[in-house]
């Protein structure tokens, strides 16, 4: 179905009447909020594990799409299309992860006569194969990490030519899976077998290739937004070097490592890579940056990124709203195409993971949930207080973003926001993040992808003061618990109920 492009300047004509959000958690809520602001009725989907989830209650209605395992629900193309049909949705937003880069899904959505909020299926096919993407980038003169542009087979002479250490990567890759660092020839065959196995399990395709290990390196990406009429906005870069398991924990914009000269080169490469595909939608071109300021193309993702909010804060542009408007055929106006960037933004991801134990996932039940507030502070949360965490899905609890005039002010604001944050019931990476804002290398902006492994490791030992404070708090808590069980049956002073009773008595 084709829509006539419009230059909508008021909110009288929503781009769609109903839009189905084919995702869960914080990103489903983010898209639902954009729908509300555009006058679109948001439709959620849920597995049995999410029947009572926050995103379900935020939408106008929600369709059940299957049991808890993602393979039978959030990854079920048939169930999602059926949900769109029965709810009367005109468009489907896939969020990130799940089906967001699945060409078969995008094609099925179009064949059902619906609008896919994303690029054409052919673009997803072309970019989904990282080897093909490497070849196209190299063909338009964009530097790629030295390595193979064809699949690595049993003939490993290519690896010897590149020289150790090398990285093995999955051609169908993403999310750090199927990636293996190899330091010497003796490890190669075992690492190749493991990478192939992991890639086959994760993507149904065991094809791998090899790249030279670029280290130390920073991970920097460029945010793009394209319309269906050739309009392309370059919305700055994001620094994403703080990672564990090749997955991001902290993102900031602008990158402290990028000066105007490097930025110009990055934007030029991003523009060239984008021109190799006929895409519209939000997209990201990812690069490695070495210590000599050389950049190397890694991949291009034509979907919303987890960390999109960082770019929204520095540009003031609502990327999710524009994804939807662009999908409906609107042109990007000049104030988006030439958006200036202002100040500095940082995002931290709060995961149910134990940073003192190798960032191991910590499933369970979140009890207390106190999020920060105040100027320049944004919380994109997927849960609320007293929530069981379903073990089937990604352990991201919330994203916390701050925006300030410059980087030092943003770091100070982040420290303040983290000090206001309290999460009960499960260990999160908040302990790591709180350490990070006081770390000298982070404060100086002088860090690379090795920060977690080399500076944090498993975290510092408890200080004498921390031990004393924790001991005091636990002792007082036990004394108070004992006192309240032996005290008369009135609410303890200082409790929420006591406070409320006192206020009501005063109001009289």
């Amino acid at each position: 179905m084709s829509r006539s492009p419009s230059l909508r300047t008021d909110s009288s004509a929503p781009p769609f009447r109903r839009l189905l959000v084919a995702n869960r958690g914080e990103i489903a809520l983010r898209v639902i909020r954009a729908c509300r602001e555009l006058g679109i009725s948001p439709i959620a989907v849920h597995s049995d594990a999410d029947a009572n989830a926050l995103h379900v209650r935020a939408a106008d209605r929600s369709e059940r799409i299957g049991p808890a395992p993602a393979g039978e629900s959030y990854l079920s193309i048939g169930a999602i299309l059926e949900a769109a049909r029965s709810s009367g949705a005109e468009a489907i937003h896939p969020g990130y992860g799940f089906l967001s880069e699945n060409a078969a899904f995008a094609r099925a959505v179009e064949e059902a006569g619906l609008v896919f909020v994303g690029p054409p299926p052919s673009v997803l096919e072309a970019l989904g194969n990282k080897l093909e993407a490497r070849r196209s980038a190299a063909a338009v003169g964009v530097p790629i990490v030295p390595g193979t542009t064809v699949a690595l087979e049993d003939d490993v002479s290519a690896v010897e030519e590149i020289g150790y250490p090398v990285m093995l990567k999955a051609a169908a890759g993403g999310g750090g899976r199927g990636m293996r660092r190899v330091d010497e020839a003796g490890q190669l065959s075992e690492a190749m077998a493991a990478a192939r196995r992991e890639a086959a399990a994760a993507f149904g395709d065991g094809t791998i290739y090899v790249e030279r290990m670029v280290a130390p390196a920073r991970h920097v990406e460029v945010q793009l937004l394209g319309d269906r009429h050739g309009g392309l906005a370059i919305l700055g870069e994001r620094e994403c070097s703080i990672q564990r398991r090749h997955q991001k924990l902290v993102e900031e914009s602008p990158s402290p490592a990028v000066d105007d000269h490097i930025r110009e080169a990055l934007f030029d490469s991003a523009r060239r890579v984008a021109a190799t595909v006929d895409f519209h939608n939000a997209a990201t071109v990812e690069f490695l940056l070495d210590t000599y300021a050389n950049h190397f193309f890694l991949e291009m993702n034509t979907r919303l990124q987890v960390e999109h909010g960082v770019s929204e804060l520095v540009t003031g542009i609502d990327l999710v709203a524009w994804q939807i408007r662009v999908a409906a055929g609107e042109r990007l106006p000049l104030d988006v195409l030439q958006a200036p960037r202002r100040g500095h933004a940082i995002e931290v991801r709060l995961y149910a993971e134990d940073p003192y134990d190798g960032f191991r996932p910590t499933a369970g039940r979140v009890g207390v949930w106190r999020m920060p507030d105040g100027p320049g502070t944004r919380v994109d949360a997927g849960i609320e207080a007293d929530t069981d965490l379903p073990p089937e899905y990604d352990p991201l609890l919330t994203k916390l973003l701050v925006h300030a005039a410059d980087r030092p002010a943003a770091v100070d604001r982040l420290r303040r926001a983290l000090d206001e944050t309290l999460i009960g019931g499960v260990q999160t990476d908040a302990g790591f993040l709180r350490w990070l804002v006081d770390d000298d290398a982070f404060a100086a902006g002088d860090y690379d992808t090795s920060l977690v492994a080399e500076r944090w490791r498993t975290g510092p030992a408890l200080t004498a003061e921390e031990r004393s404070l924790a001991g005091l708090a636990a002792l007082e808590a036990r004394r108070a618990a004992v006192a309240s069980t032996t005290a008369p049956a009135t609410a303890p002073i200082g409790s929420a109920w006591g406070e409320r009773a006192r206020r009501e008595a005063l109001r009289g």
């Binding site: 009960g424 990476d429 709180r434 005091l472 007082e476």
Partner: protein, 154 residues
Amino acid sequence: MTDYEVRIGDEPVSAADGWQLEWVDRPSGVARLVNGGRSLHILVEGSGPDWVVTLRGRRIPVSVRSWRERVMAEAETAAHTHVGPVEVKATLPGLVVAVGVAVGDQVEEGAALLTIEAMKMQNEVRAPRAGRVVEVAVGAGQTVATGAALLRLE
């Protein structure tokens, strides 16, 4: 009033001079630690002798035991040195993807018993001590909750 013994790990805890605890919301455990010019928000969860204090994002397990609880715990530790059956329980909810042992198997301390997948990661459940497997309560493909009995060692 030194009626309790406070420990973190195996070490007793020294007093936090000058600091005081103020409750912000006692039922939920939200509190403030204040010391003249400084203060920080913390969370205190637990009951009886077992507490967890969340301080600058880090959960710190603290044991607060009365004299009576100490004596009883010591008696229990002594009893545990005698070899009895041990029930291995799930420490996190997830999907059992593989069971590597069967009834009758002799296992060493630390041996991998089964694999539970949670949050897209595979976690090995290991033997808390050496022994013989006398019962396997779960099979591959089964979903387990935290605290669910997985198997018994003798």
